[in-house]
C-alpha cells in the first residue's frame, strides 16, 4: 500500500487562499473584531485541522473561507475564484459543485429521508444517475440499511455519517467540517474520524474545525487560532516520529502555543 506522505506544502496546489481577512461583529453598538487579518493558504489534498480556544473565531473563519459568511475586509479565493467578486448565484453554484459541509449536529433535513437528503445535494449538483450513486455512497459509509429512514429515526453517529455522505455526493474539492464529532459519543466520533482518514487517504481535501486533541491528531496539518489570528501552523510531516506519538507531539506543540 502506498503511504501518501505529505511533506512540504510547496508541493501541493493551493485550493483556498485568504489575505488580510477581517470580520467583526457589532453588538450593542460595540464593534468586536473576531477574525483580525488572517493570511492563509489551504492546500489541495491536505487534511487541515483548525484548533483554538472557545470563541477564538474558528467557526467564523470556516464560514468566511467557504463563502457562507461575508468578510468585512480582505480577500478569499476558492479554487482560483475570488469569492467576494462572485454573485450570490455563482457562489451557490460553487458550493454545490466544489464544497461539502458537515456541521456539529442535527443538520439533516428532518422532512426528508436519509437517501433523500443525499439526493437533494446531488440534484443541486446536477448529478446524473443519482439513484445509483446515492445508494452506492450510503453503502460505502455503511448506511445502506437506513437509506429510507428519517433523521429522527437514526442515531447521532448515523446522522453524522449521513451528513458526510450528503457532503460527498458531488465529489467536492473541499470538505468543510465544523466540529463534526462535537455532539457525538466517543465511539461514534471515532467512526466519523476513521471515515475522514479514509477520505483523506483517497485524496479528499478536508478542512476541519475541532477543539479535541484526538481528532486533531488525525490531520496532516494543524492550525492554531487565538484572538482572531492564526498563531501557529504545525505539519506532522515536518516532525517525523512514531504515529503513536502524534498525540503527545501535538499536545506539546499546542502547549507551546499557549493552548
Amino acid at each position: 500500500m502506498l503511504l501518501v506522505s505529505k511533506t512540504g506544502s510547496e508541493n501541493l496546489p493551493r485550493i483556498v487562499t485568504c489575505r488580510d481577512l477581517r470580520k467583526e461583529f457589532v453588538t450593542a453598538g460595540k464593534t468586536t473584531p473576531i477574525v483580525s487579518g488572517v493570511d492563509l493558504d489551504v492546500f489541495e489534498g491536505d487534511y487541515t485541522v483548525l484548533m483554538g480556544g472557545s470563541g477564538s473565531g474558528k467557526s467564523t473563519l470556516l464560514y468566511l473561507l467557504s463563502g457562507l459568511d461575508k468578510a468585512n475586509a480582505g480577500t478569499v479565493s476558492f479554487a482560483g475564484e475570488d469569492l467576494h467578486k462572485l454573485s450570490e448565484r455563482a457562489q451557490a453554484q460553487l458550493r454545490r459543485e466544489g464544497m461539502g459541509f458537515v456541521f456539529q449536529a442535527f443538520n439533516l433535513i428532518p422532512t426528508l429521508s436519509l437517501i433523500e437528503n443525499v439526493r437533494l445535494a446531488g440534484l443541486l449538483g446536477n448529478q446524473d444517475s443519482l439513484e445509483a450513486t446515492s445508494m452506492e455512497i450510503l453503502r460505502d459509509l455503511d448506511l445502506a440499511d437506513h437509506a429510507s429512514k428519517r433523521p429522527g429515526q437514526l442515531s447521532g453517529g448515523q446522522q453524522q455519517r449521513g451528513a458526510i455522505a450528503r457532503a460527498l455526493i458531488n465529489n467536492p474539492r473541499m470538505l468543510f467540517a465544523d466540529e463534526p464529532t462535537g455532539a457525538l459519543n466517543s465511539a461514534a466520533g471515532e467512526a466519523v474520524l476513521d471515515l475522514f482518514d479514509r477520505l483523506s487517504t483517497r485524496g479528499q481535501s478536508i478542512f476541519m474545525v475541532t477543539h479535541e486533541l484526538r481528532a486533531a491528531c488525525r490531520g496532516d496539518r494543524v492550525l492554531f487560532m487565538q484572538d482572531g489570528g492564526i498563531k501557529g501552523d504545525f505539519r506532522f510531516a515536518d516532525h517525523p516520529g512514531k504515529t503513536t506519538d502524534r498525540e503527545s507531539l501535538l499536545f506539546n506543540w499546542l502547549t507551546e502555543q499557549g493552548w
Binding site: 461575508k70 451557490a92 422532512t111 433523500e116
Partner: protein, 758 residues
C-alpha cells in the same frame, strides 16, 4: 368581528327606535277614501281614544301610478305626493339632510326622503316630473329629509312632501279623495290593539292602507337581521381562527424555548410557575388585543351602521355600542389566556434532562416516500421540497389550510350571493313574484285609460304574447281563531297562475274562486295547513277561502296571499287589476316589444320589464349584502394572510438551521424562498378546493336559513363559475404575499447565523 356582530344588531336597531321617537313618528298612519268613509267621524273616533296623544290634521295625498322621472331617468319607485301643512310639526317631524329647513315646501317644490335621493342619485335643485292625470307636473327638489317611516327604502310608494293645497291645483276636482291621517300614541300604548278596535268600530274591516310602527321597524329589520346574522356567523369563525393562531403560536413558542424551559426547571421552577408565566403573558396580550378589538369593533360597527343607516342619517353612539358589545369582552378576555395555558401545559411537563441536552423532541411523522425527490429534476426543487414539507404538515399548516378554506368558501359565498341577487330577472318566481317578462301599469284615469278587459284582449292579439294576466295589489285582514284580525298583503290575480309562472313550496296555485295560496311565514304564524279554510276581510267583505298552496316570497315578509280575480270579485264585483303581466314566447326580443307596445298604448299604460318593479329594492338588498359579505371576506382574507404570515415567519425562525443547511448545500436564497412560496401556493390551492367543496355543500342551506325570516326558504343561489375563479386567484395572491414578506429575511441572513443559531 364578534364585537361588530354583537354590537351590530343592537346598534342598528337602536338608532331606528331612537329616530322614530325623536322625530315623533306616527304610530299609525293610514289613508282614508273620503268617498267611502265619513272623515269627520273617523277623526273624531280617533281623537276620543284614550291612547291617542295627538292627531295630525289630515293630509291630502295623491299616488300617481307611474314612476316619476328626473331628466331622462326614471326613478326606481313610485312616490306618494303628500301635502305638508305648516302646523304639521308635532307628528312626523323631519330631519333635514340637505336643503333649507322651512315649515312646509313652497309651491312646485318637493321634499324627498333620503333613501329615494340616495337610490336615484338625486340632489337639491333636480327636477322631478310626475305624471298626474295625463299632465306632467314639474317639481324642484328643495330638501332631502329623513322621513322616519319612509327612509328605510323598503316601503313603496315613497312619501314625498309638497306644498299645502297644491295637489288640488293640478288634479281634477273629484280625483283628490284620499287623505292621510297620522296618529301619535302615548308611550306604551299598543298600536295593533287600537287598530283592531278601529276595525271593529268600522264593522270588521278597513279598506285603505295602514302603516303601523311595527311595519316600519320590520322594514328596517329585514335587512339588518340578515346582515347581523351573517356577521355573527363569521365573527364566530374569526374566533375559531384566532384560537388556531394562538394555539399554534404558543405551541411553537414552547418548542422554540424548549431548552430554556428545561433550564428553568433545573434551576427550580415548578410547572405551576411556568404555566403562570404563560398565563400572565397571554393575559396581558389578551387585555391589549381585546381592548383593540373593542375599539376596532366600534369603528367597524360605526362604518357598518352609517352604511346601513345612511338613509336615516343615523350614527352610532358609543354607549349603544358599549351596551351591545360588552358581553363579548369577558369571553375574549378569558378565552385567549385559557387557550394559551392549555397549550402551554406541555412546557410544564418538560423533562428537564432531555430538554437541556436535546431540545424539543423532533416531531415524529411517518416517512413520505412519495414523491421521490428525484422528480425534482423535472418540476423544480422548491416545489418538491414544499410538497414534502406539506406532507409532513404540522398543526400550523393545517390551521393555515383551514383559514384559507373558510376564506375561500366565504369569498365564493359573497360573489355568488351577490350575483344571484342581481340575477333576479331570471329568478322572480323564487322571490315570490310571477314569472312574466313584461309588466304594464294602467293609467286609471278615464281620459287615457283603456278598460282592463279590452286592454288584455288587445295584448293577446300580439303574436309575441304567450300568456297574459292581471294583478291587483290588495290589502286584506286575516280573521284569526280568536276572531281578531291580522293585516296582510296580497295579490289578486287574473289568469292562469301556473302559466304565469307562480311557484309554490307545497300544494298548487289557486284556480277556482274559493282557493287561495299563502306565504309560509303566514302559514307558520297562524298554524294554517294545506286544505284548511281561512276567512279574509277584503274591501269590507268577509270571504272564505280554502288554502291550496304555500309559497315563499319577500313581499311583506311573506305575510302574503294570492287569490284569483273571481275569488276577490265575490267581495267587489267590479274589481279590476291595475297591472297586466305578459309572458312572451321569446324573451330575448323583449326590448323591442316593450318599445313598440309603449308606442301603441301611449298614455294608457306604462310598459316595462317585470323585474323593474323590484330592481331598485333588491339592488339595495344585494348592495348591502354584497358590501357586508365582501367586508367579511376581506377580513377573513386578512386573517388567513396573517395566519400564513405568522406561520411562515415562525417556520423560518424554527428551522433556521435547516435553511442554513440548504444554503450550504448550494441552494440560492431565491430557491429557499421558493420553498416557502410554493408551500403557500400549494396551501392556497388546497384551500381553494376545500373552500369550493365547503361552499357547495353548505352555501344553499346557509342562505336558506338566513333568508328564512325574510320569507325565503329556498334561495335561488346560482354559482357563477366565471366570477368564482376570482376566489382561487385571491387566495393565491394573499398566500403568496403573506409568505413573501417574512421570507425576505431568508435572503438577508448569512448562512452562518442560520446554521449556528441556537
Amino acid at each position: 368581528m364578534l364585537f361588530t356582530a354583537l354590537a351590530g344588531k343592537g346598534s342598528l336597531e337602536k338608532p331606528v327606535h331612537t329616530l322614530l321617537r325623536d322625530l315623533n313618528a306616527a304610530e299609525v298612519t293610514f289613508t282614508l277614501d273620503a268617498r267611502a268613509y265619513d272623515v269627520e267621524a273617523v277623526l273624531n273616533w280617533w281623537a276620543e281614544q284614550a291612547e291617542v296623544a295627538a292627531l295630525a290634521s289630515p293630509r291630502a295625498i295623491l299616488a300617481p301610478p307611474a314612476r316619476p322621472r328626473s331628466g331622462d331617468r326614471e326613478l326606481g319607485s313610485t312616490i306618494l305626493l303628500t301635502e305638508r301643512s305648516r302646523d304639521d310639526t308635532s307628528i312626523d317631524s323631519l330631519r333635514f339632510q340637505a336643503g333649507q329647513e322651512t315649515a312646509a315646501p313652497k309651491n312646485s317644490d318637493i321634499w324627498i326622503p333620503s333613501s329615494l335621493a340616495a337610490a336615484n342619485e338625486l340632489t337639491i335643485g333636480d327636477t322631478l316630473e310626475v305624471a298626474v292625470d295625463g299632465q306632467v307636473i314639474m317639481f324642484t327638489i328643495s330638501a332631502i329629509v329623513v322621513d322616519p317611516q319612509y327612509s328605510s327604502g323598503f316601503l313603496s310608494p315613497v312619501r314625498s312632501w309638497v306644498a299645502p293645497g297644491s295637489l288640488a291645483t293640478f288634479s281634477r276636482p273629484g280625483k283628490l279623495n284620499e287623505i292621510q291621517v297620522s296618529v301619535a300614541l302615548y308611550e306604551g300604548a299598543s298600536a295593533d290593539a287600537l287598530w283592531d278596535r278601529f276595525k271593529a268600530h268600522l264593522g270588521g274591516g278597513f279598506s285603505g292602507t295602514a302603516l303601523t310602527r311595527s311595519t316600519v321597524l320590520a322594514s328596517y329589520a329585514q335587512s339588518i337581521g340578515i346582515l347581523t346574522a351573517l356577521i355573527m356567523l363569521f365573527g364566530v369563525l374569526a374566533l375559531i381562527v384566532a384560537v388556531f393562531i394562538i394555539t399554534s403560536t404558543v405551541a411553537s413558542d414552547v418548542t422554540a424555548n424548549y431548552r430554556n424551559f428545561g433550564i428553568l426547571k433545573a434551576i427550580g421552577f415548578t410547572p405551576g410557575n411556568m404555566l403562570g408565566a404563560y398565563l400572565l403573558q397571554y393575559a396581558i396580550l389578551a387585555a391589549v388585543t381585546t381592548g383593540l378589538g373593542f375599539a376596532l369593533g366600534f369603528l367597524s360597527t360605526n362604518a357598518l351602521t352609517s352604511l346601513m343607516l345612511s338613509s336615516i342619517g343615523g350614527s352610532l353612539s358609543p354607549t349603544v355600542y358599549g351596551e351591545a358589545a360588552l358581553p363579548a369582552l369577558p369571553v375574549l378576555g378569558l378565552l385567549i389566556p385559557i387557550v394559551a395555558a392549555l397549550v402551554a401545559r406541555r412546557a410544564s411537563r418538560i423533562n428537564a434532562a432531555t430538554a437541556i441536552r436535546f431540545g424539543a423532541p423532533p416531531t415524529e411523522s411517518s416517512s413520505t416516500p412519495w414523491p421521490n425527490i428525484v422528480v425534482a429534476k423535472g418540476v423544480g426543487l422548491p416545489a418538491v421540497l414544499a410538497l414534502k414539507e406539506l406532507l409532513t404538515a404540522r398543526a400550523r399548516d393545517l390551521f393555515d389550510g383551514v383559514a384559507l378554506t373558510l376564506t375561500g368558501a366565504v369569498i365564493l359565498f359573497a360573489i355568488n350571493v351577490y350575483q344571484s341577487t342581481l340575477d333576479l330577472g331570471d329568478n322572480l318566481p323564487f322571490w315570490g313574484l310571477d314569472g312574466s317578462d313584461v309588466r304594464l301599469t294602467r293609467d286609471l284615469s278615464p281620459a287615457f285609460g283603456i278598460a282592463y278587459e279590452r286592454l288584455r284582449e288587445q295584448l293577446n292579439d300580439h303574436r309575441e304574447v304567450a300568456t297574459s294576466g292581471g294583478i291587483l295589489n290588495a290589502k286584506a285582514s286575516l280573521l284569526t281563531q280568536d276572531q281578531s284580525s291580522f293585516d296582510i298583503d296580497g295579490h289578486v290575480i287574473d289568469g292562469n297562475l301556473n302559466h304565469l309562472g307562480y311557484l309554490n313550496l307545497e300544494g298548487r296555485n289557486p284556480q277556482s274562486s274559493e282557493e287561495i295560496s299563502i306565504g309560509y311565514p303566514l302559514a307558520d304564524r297562524f298554524g294554517i295547513a294545506l286544505g284548511e279554510t281561512i276567512s279574509l276581510h277584503l274591501r269590507g267583505q268577509r270571504l272564505e277561502f280554502r288554502v291550496v298552496g304555500i309559497f315563499q316570497g319577500t313581499s311583506n315578509g311573506g305575510l302574503f296571499y294570492r287569490c284569483t280575480l273571481s275569488g276577490a270579485q265575490r267581495a267587489v264585483p267590479f274589481l279590476e287589476p291595475s297591472e297586466l303581466i305578459l309572458k312572451l314566447h321569446d324573451r330575448s326580443t323583449r326590448g323591442d316589444f316593450i318599445a313598440r307596445l309603449q308606442q301603441e298604448l301611449g298614455q294608457a299604460a306604462q310598459v316595462e320589464t317585470s323585474e323593474k318593479l323590484v330592481e331598485s329594492q333588491l339592488a339595495q338588498v344585494a348592495g348591502g349584502l354584497g358590501s357586508v359579505l365582501s367586508a367579511i371576506a376581506l377580513s377573513l382574507l386578512a386573517i388567513a394572510g396573517t395566519s400564513i404570515l405568522n406561520s411562515t415567519s415562525m417556520g423560518i425562525e424554527e428551522s433556521k438551521r435547516q435553511l442554513g443547511v440548504y444554503k450550504a448545500l448550494g441552494m440560492t436564497a431565491g430557491q429557499i424562498r421558493g420553498i416557502k412560496l410554493c408551500k403557500a401556493l400549494l396551501l392556497a390551492c388546497l384551500g381553494a378546493i376545500a373552500g369550493a367543496l365547503l361552499y357547495s355543500t353548505l352555501a344553499t342551506g346557509l342562505m336558506n336559513s338566513m333568508m328564512h325570516g325574510a320569507g325565503m326558504r329556498e334561495f335561488p343561489l346560482t354559482t357563477d363559475h366565471g366570477r368564482s375563479l376570482l376566489m382561487p386567484a385571491l387566495l393565491a395572491f394573499i398566500a403568496l404575499l403573506s409568505a413573501w414578506i417574512p421570507s425576505q429575511r431568508i435572503t438577508r441572513l448569512p448562512a452562518r447565523e442560520l446554521i449556528l443559531s441556537d
